[in-house]
């Protein structure tokens, strides 16, 4: 069923909302919201859509659920960041408008640039984490990914907490350990035909249970 058609409907059933972009105020969000107002169980919930897109809340909820994360700081002051962490650091936007995730800073001037651009000229705060290893970004589709075991585990556990079917995860790898750092919606172009196959397999599996599928 098309998302816009669903927004007019009053279906009472489990809803699986499949979309590439679940950002707040986008159609993907409104579908989940509408399903909740109708009193349906829905994947993903509107609350986890908001929470997963805000890095500090993502990290807080993930660490509560036992997913490895690094310490973070929410602020708009460069001095405070420098007092808390040594370089290099990775800066995530807390502002809602940025689409592509993070910037790494190896010195003071890069940090100023990163905080200024991701904080939209200091209007919003940023979320800073220390950079101890290398950053890896990968697609996670129903918690599945084509990466090694440590990343697969993170991806699966992140899906069990937030239940966002299609997304991109930013993970930091330090030695053999992997830490969840950030979340980002996927662009339509980034979804390959293999991914489509995984998606339809998952949907087929779920639809055996008899739900309404929106996507």
């Amino acid at each position: 069923m098309k998302p816009t058609a669903f927004l007019h409907s009053s279906i009472k059933d489990f809803v699986l909302n499949v979309n590439n972009d679940y950002r707040y105020l986008k159609t993907g969000y409104y579908v989940s919201m509408h399903a909740e107002v109708l009193g349906n169980r829905v994947i993903p919930s509107s609350e986890s859509i908001i929470d997963a897109n805000r890095t500090p809340i993502l990290l807080l909820k993930a660490s509560k659920a036992g997913i490895p994360t690094l310490p973070y700081l929410v602020t708009d002051s460069v001095k405070q960041i420098m007092a808390a962490f040594d370089f290099p650091v990775v800066v995530f936007a807390v502002n809602p408008f940025s689409y592509d995730g993070f910037k790494t800073a190896r010195n003071k001037s890069a940090l100023y640039r990163g905080v200024k651009s991701l904080g939209m000229n200091y209007k919003f705060a940023v979320c800073v984490q220390p950079l101890k290893g290398e950053m890896i970004s990968f697609k996670s589709i129903f918690g599945k990914c084509e990466q090694d075991q440590a990343l697969k585990q993170i991806s699966g556990r992140a899906y069990s907490v937030f239940k966002i079917p299609i997304c991109k995860l930013h993970v930091q790898r330090v030695g053999h350990e992997a830490y969840l750092c950030g979340f980002q919606p996927l662009k339509k172009e980034e979804i390959s035909s293999d991914d489509m196959k995984t998606i339809s397999e998952e949907i087929a599996q779920m639809s055996n249970l008899g739900e309404h599928l929106i996507g």
Partner: protein, 292 residues
């Protein structure tokens, strides 16, 4: 003794009346022996040291205030406004969908979405609601992002501007009144009642002068909550129950003897000498709720 953190931004101190209200909160807390500290964006990491968080900075699921609220709630602190209320009140589409579900008396409202926005729909809306109609973006606050349109051209212009951020908008019937009721509600009880007057020749409480950036605000008349119409309070409490049990400001219009809800706001503005004028216990009651 409890420790309360009050999350504020710099702009909360630009208006002396609002600053006075914040100081009143601090004094009310001190009177009952509680600690009340202002917390700015730079030091939100101190949240775990407190027992309760009171948010005065403008709330929206997209602002830092939501991060503060959700963090506090995840850590098990008492928080006003709670994240669920911010989510519902910060998105008027969500709110009106709930009003429809629970049958709250409200201004006739329709939703339009970006994909299905075309000529025929506009004609139909004008036929149903008459001209003009009010177009509302879901993230409206302080009378911003609410515009009145009377023809298709301006409808398209306003809608396209609002569609840049949100894929769904609300369209409401235009109901001009001399004032809006504002009912402050805390924990399912009426806290204060005021009338927000509409400036002369305008149609909303905060109106812009043509071609100027300044906003003129209508006057505020406060009244004792006991003296407010019983039906008004009943409608306000009914609307808040749908959303939660925190602190809300309900906007209500009185149209030919009927009370209809315009919207419920979380984080209602409290200015010294305005909302609190006839209900001096506003501060004490909020503090008591926070430490309860």
């Amino acid at each position: 003794m409890a420790r309360i953190a009050c999350f504020v931004e710099k702009y909360n101190f630009t208006d002396p009346r609002e600053e006075k209200a914040l100081q009143n909160f601090k004094q009310a807390a001190a009177r009952s022996g509680h600690e009340f500290d202002f917390m700015f964006r730079e030091n939100v990491s101190v949240i775990p040291k407190y027992d309760a968080v009171f948010i005065r900075a403008t709330t929206d699921p997209l602002f830092t205030a939501y991060v503060v609220s959700r963090t506090a709630s995840e850590l098990g602190l008492k928080v006003v406004d709670d994240p669920e209320s911010i989510q519902i009140c910060g998105n008027k589409i969500h709110q009106y969908a709930l009003f429809e579900k629970y049958n709250i008396p409200r201004i006739p409202t329709l939703f339009i979405n970006r994909e299905e926005f075309h000529h025929r729909q506009i004609v139909e809306i004008f036929r149903e609601f008459g001209k003009p109609v009010v177009v509302k973006a879901p993230y409206t606050s302080f009378s911003r992002y609410v515009e009145k349109v009377a023809c298709e051209t301006s409808f398209r212009e306003v809608a396209l501007r609002f569609f840049r951020k949100s894929d769904v908008l609300a369209v409401q019937k235009f109901m001009p009144t001399a004032f809006d009721w504002r009912v402050g509600v805390l924990n399912d009880e009426v806290l204060y009642v005021c009338k927000y007057m509409i400036p002369k020749g305008r149609w909303k409480h905060g109106a812009k002068l043509r071609g100027k950036p300044t906003v003129i605000w209508g006057r505020t008349f406060s009244m004792k909550r006991e003296n407010a119409p019983a039906r008004l309070k009943e409608v306000a409490l009914k609307a808040c129950k749908v959303i939660g049990h925190g602190l809300y400001g309900v906007d209500i219009k009185e149209v030919s003897g009927e009370y209809v809800v315009v919207e419920v706001n979380d984080n209602p503005s409290i200015y010294a000498g305005y909302e609190d004028l006839r209900n001096k216990d506003v501060y004490g009651k909020i503090i008591a709720y926070l430490v309860d």
